[in-house]
Amino acid sequence: MGFKDPKYVGDPRNAVKIFNEKMADELALLDIDATPKDRGPRFELIEEIVGEAFMPVAYGGGIRTVEDASRIISLGVEKIIVGTHAVEDPVFVRGLAEHLGRQSIVACLDVKRSVGGSYQVRTRSGQKRTGANPIDLARQLEDEGAGEIIINSIDRDGTMQGFDLDLVRSVSSAVGVPLIACGGAGSLEDIRQVVGVGASAAGAGSLFVFHGRHRSVLISYPDPETLREIFL
């Protein structure tokens, strides 16, 4: 059902408490600075945040080894999210799936349209071009053991202009595992649409954090009846 992907504004612990109140189904914690800064996960912070969350948590950011992943799971995280290191070495995903089970492995693909118009996967918080096609990569990562795949549109991210429906449609028809669409949610209607093209879940950041033209910070979340209506 719903899937939260907060780019937090302020202390993550406070944001978690608010999402608890709003009864978000799942929380994704993404440390987007980790890999660009060559840093691994901040285990103590993760443990603390997980302890505050009254819903399942997925964590991603700087996971480089199976040991990192195992340690994070032992902190109470249900799923680990791998991006850069999965794309740079898809066999890493196989090792993770064998050790932790594919249900705990989420592969995240950041996608940007190239100048020529084709979709390409980027890594390292969008800084590095790989030249790889998201459909091929999604298929490969599924084969290696990813239990879920996140497709994040770098172009749409933060714009609240709607998801990239073509991108989501093309990837969802290529893979069998659940697909989570991210990047561009501007309204609940957007979420309805992206589910209509095959997304099993939608991630939203700006939509639930920023409110109104001036993007003042107000964390909100749809009520259960609305979500039920969109997803079922």
Binding site: M1, N20, M23, A24, D25, E47, E48, V50, G51, E52, A53, F54, M55, P56, S74, L75, G76, E78, G101, Q103, P224
Partner: protein, 209 residues
């Protein structure tokens, strides 16, 4: 609820007890997270959480002298007890997951899901699901319509007597998601990851058991 009500949440190194502690605090229950048998003996009620493998859990409980303490506190003295997830499975006689015997407080066995009729359903059962109250016990009373709980498990409990099954959930067929016998209860899902619904359940355990 008396001012001296304290719930002991057993920390035996099998999982992050933070959410459980914080959720209980949120509903205003005095909680102590402990592996000290003496502290447990002084508590009003006991919660045994658990994530991980059956044998590891039983071994840890033995190593920490908790099996004897819990037997005395829960079985002899009749202290209200709630086992959560693996903690519920430990209540049974044995598990297909391991070799060691369980606590054996409820006449039941823990078995791997048999989903041969449903090849589309993966193991583990992971995600939100509903629980149907069988009406045989108080633990689910007060739940809102559509109450859902978060499950992550590959093994499920089969109780010998239907009287011990307080709630059932459907995953390729019905399985016991809430069990209970006397002062001892078990829930297969994670109330501490089931936000509002989990809080209601823990509150019911804290105030009515």
């Amino acid at each position: 609820m008396g001012a001296t009500l304290t719930i002991a949440v057993i920390d035996y190194g099998m999982g992050n007890v933070g959410s459980m502690r914080n959720m209980l605090a949120k509903i205003g229950v005095e909680t102590v997270v402990t592996s000290d048998p003496e502290v447990i003996m002084g508590a009003s009620k006991v919660i045994l959480p658990g994530v991980g493998a059956f044998d590891n859990a039983m071994r840890r409980l033995e190593q920490l002298d908790l099996v004897a303490a819990l037997d005395e506190k829960v079985r002899e003295q009749g202290t209200p007890f709630l086992g959560v997830c693996l903690g519920m499975q430990l209540l049974t006689m044995r598990s297909e997951e391991g070799e060691l015997p369980g606590l054996g407080w409820i006449d039941a066995e823990t078995r791997l899901f048999d989903l041969s009729d449903h090849p589309e359903l993966p193991i583990p059962h992971m995600g939100w699901n509903t629980v149907q109250d069988t009406g045989r016990g108080p633990l689910l009373v007060g739940q809102a319509d559509g109450a859902r709980f978060y499950f992550v498990h590959s093994y499920r409990v089969q109780a010998r007597s239907e009287d011990d099954v307080l709630g059932v959930t459907n995953y390729g067929g019905e399985f016991a998601s809430v069990i209970g016998h006397g002062n001892i209860w078990g829930v297969q899902f994670h109330p501490e990851k089931s936000h509002r619904y989990g809080m209601t359940l823990l509150n019911t355990f804290a105030t009515t058991s």
